[in-house]
């Protein structure tokens, strides 16, 4: 169903190991991102979402199940390290983001570009988190936040997909 950039000829063990390594990469990226100095933007918590690079890689090269696995496991990690609400945010953002990316790829097939997939993934990651926040802490104004969500998702999407693009040739050689 998805355009075939999948790595072929992987037996189950190889797929398991590769997924695990990509998951570890996602975690490392998240940690590194946390260490970097906070951006000079009014809204805190706006991040580039570098770990999305790993998730996107999994989605493009490994498979949907693997991508979801990494997303869910990452949320568990966030839950363990940063607490319940953060874990919930990560879960909702991650699941929504991956689902939207899969839908985009399914609907548009060849016509979509990596850049747009990445942007939508980032934007909907923010949307997913925002929905959870609105449910938990009532009274957030949707219109006020929409520009923030969109623009930060836009920027994040561009950054992550560009980074992924630079890495891709190296991964192509694996396949």
């Amino acid at each position: 169903m998805i355009t075939n950039t999948r790595i072929n000829n992987l037996n189950k063990t190889q797929m398991l190991v590769l997924t695990a390594m990509i998951f570890a990469t996602a975690l490392v990226l998240a940690i590194v991102e946390n260490i970097l100095p906070p951006l000079p933007i009014a809204v805190p918590g706006v991040k580039f979402g570098l770990s999305n690079i790993a998730v996107m890689y999994a989605l493009f090269f490994l498979g949907e199940k693997q991508a979801y696995t990494i997303g869910i496991l990452k949320s568990v990690f966030v839950f363990i390290t940063r607490g319940g609400i953060a874990g919930l945010l990560s879960l909702s953002g991650g699941i929504l983001s991956i689902t939207v990316m899969i839908l985009l790829m399914a609907i548009f097939r060849e016509k979509i570009t990596y850049l747009i997939i990445s942007i939508f993934g980032a934007v909907f990651h923010n949307v997913g988190q925002f929905i959870v926040i609105t449910v938990i802490y009532t009274g957030m104004n949707m219109w006020a936040y929409l520009p923030v969500l969109l623009i930060s998702g836009l920027a994040a999407g561009i950054v992550t997909s560009t980074l992924l693009k630079f890495i891709m040739p190296a991964f192509q050689r694996l396949a």
Binding site: N141, W143, V148
Partner: protein, 130 residues
């Protein structure tokens, strides 16, 4: 799949347009000429007081019961009592206009007056343990 196509620019521009439009909607639909006081404890927003409500009350923030604020009927707010040694906060007097602020540094409390509408779009509404 390619990385980038011409049509992508259209999508990006429309996303930017949507954000600008929604920001505009927010500003004009929800526009009100009011101010409110935001009270921060250790850089976390803990209380917001609408200065237009016409109430008069004395209250303190749950995080620090020793610092007492007083909200006046005319819409100004002031530090009334505090257990700090220097009482700079109390000397700041009554705050009423947007942009003013007073702080009780020994207690880690900062109070600032912000426009009721404009700041809401990009100010910090919520700090989630980062």
């Amino acid at each position: 799949m390619k990385f980038f196509k011409r049509t992508d620019i259209i999508i990006i521009i429309s996303i930017l347009l949507i954000s600008i439009v929604s920001w505009g909607i927010y500003n004009y639909v929800f526009a009100e000429d009011r101010v409110k006081a935001e009270i921060y404890y250790c850089s976390e927003l803990v209380e917001t007081v609408d200065l237009n409500s016409g109430e008069e009350k004395t209250f303190s923030v749950p995080q620090d019961k020793d610092v007492i604020f007083h909200l006046y009927k005319d819409g100004s707010i002031a530090f009334e009592e505090s257990d700090c040694p220097d009482k700079v906060c109390i000397h700041a007097g009554r705050l009423k206009t947007a942009g003013q602020f007073a702080a009780c540094l020994p207690n880690g409390i900062v109070m600032k007056i912000v426009p009721y509408k404009e700041r809401n779009a990009d100010d910090v509404d919520l700090v989630i343990g980062n």
